[in-house]
């Protein structure tokens, strides 16, 4: 394996590890859940991405064949991290018992989707709309 590639792989591993530690440190240090969400979902995902790219380059240098597994894992993690962050934030908002009136106005007819039911036109079929948690009806 050429020296430059080895140096690059080592750098990627170290940078990824530092990002992972920073993400977990943020999970400890930050004051409440809404700020704590940022550290793991951004820094840790980036760190894992660095480690995965290092692994891909390593097996490319050692065996000469480019393996696509790491790209698959990286893409999956990068796609799912915002979804989990959104779900956790939404569940947190509901569990806190905060009122929708504490939020700033949306500037549209509809309220915030986290608290209000979906509008009748958008909810396909009344079966779905009937199952939605009772919220303020859109005016």
């Amino acid at each position: 394996m050429p020296f430059v590639l080895e140096l690059f792989i080592s750098l990627l591993i170290v940078i990824g590890a530092v990002f992972i530690v920073v993400g977990s440190l943020g999970l400890i240090k930050l004051p409440d859940l809404m700020t704590r969400l940022h550290a793991p979902t951004k820094a840790t995902t980036l760190g894992v991405g660095g480690a995965l790219i290092a692994s891909m380059l390593y097996f490319f240098g050692a065996e000469g064949s480019l393996s696509i597994h790491e790209v698959l894992i990286t893409a999956f993690l990068f796609l799912t991290a915002p979804v989990t962050a959104h779900f956790i934030a939404k569940a947190h908002l509901h569990l806190q018992g905060r009122e929708a009136s504490e939020l700033p106005p949306t500037g549209r007819d509809l309220g915030w989707s986290t608290f209000d039911a979906a509008p009748r036109e958008c909810a396909a079929g009344d079966k779905v709309a009937g199952g939605v948690k009772p919220g303020r009806e859109p005016s």
Partner: protein, 89 residues
């Protein structure tokens, strides 16, 4: 040189897992614990990948991919359960 970098990586990811464990034990709300579990799964994936580099084998990629999928699905299922009281309605 890669071996030294891997050693640093193992120490760093293990430290990160310990910090996550602290948040998991002391998290004031339920969602803090869910977030800690989610982060622990991602850190475990990183640990598996680094271990695969150290062992010079590609066997562990499937394990990492499965762990990524199950981590995502379990986090979404748990959030859904806390939101609606049911996973699949």
């Amino acid at each position: 040189m890669i071996d030294h970098a891997l050693l640093f990586g193992f120490f760093a990811v293990s430290l990160a897992l310990l910090l996550n464990l602290w948040r998991l034990v002391s998290g004031p709300t339920v969602m803090d614990r869910v977030l800690a579990i989610d982060t622990m799964v991602i850190n475990a994936i990183a640990l598996i990948i680094l271990f695969g580099i150290q062992q010079r084998t590609t066997v562990y990629f499937e394990a990492a991919l499965l762990l990524a999928m199950f981590g995502f699905i379990s986090t979404v299922a748990y959030c859904r359960f806390m939101l609606r009281g049911d996973v699949i309605e």
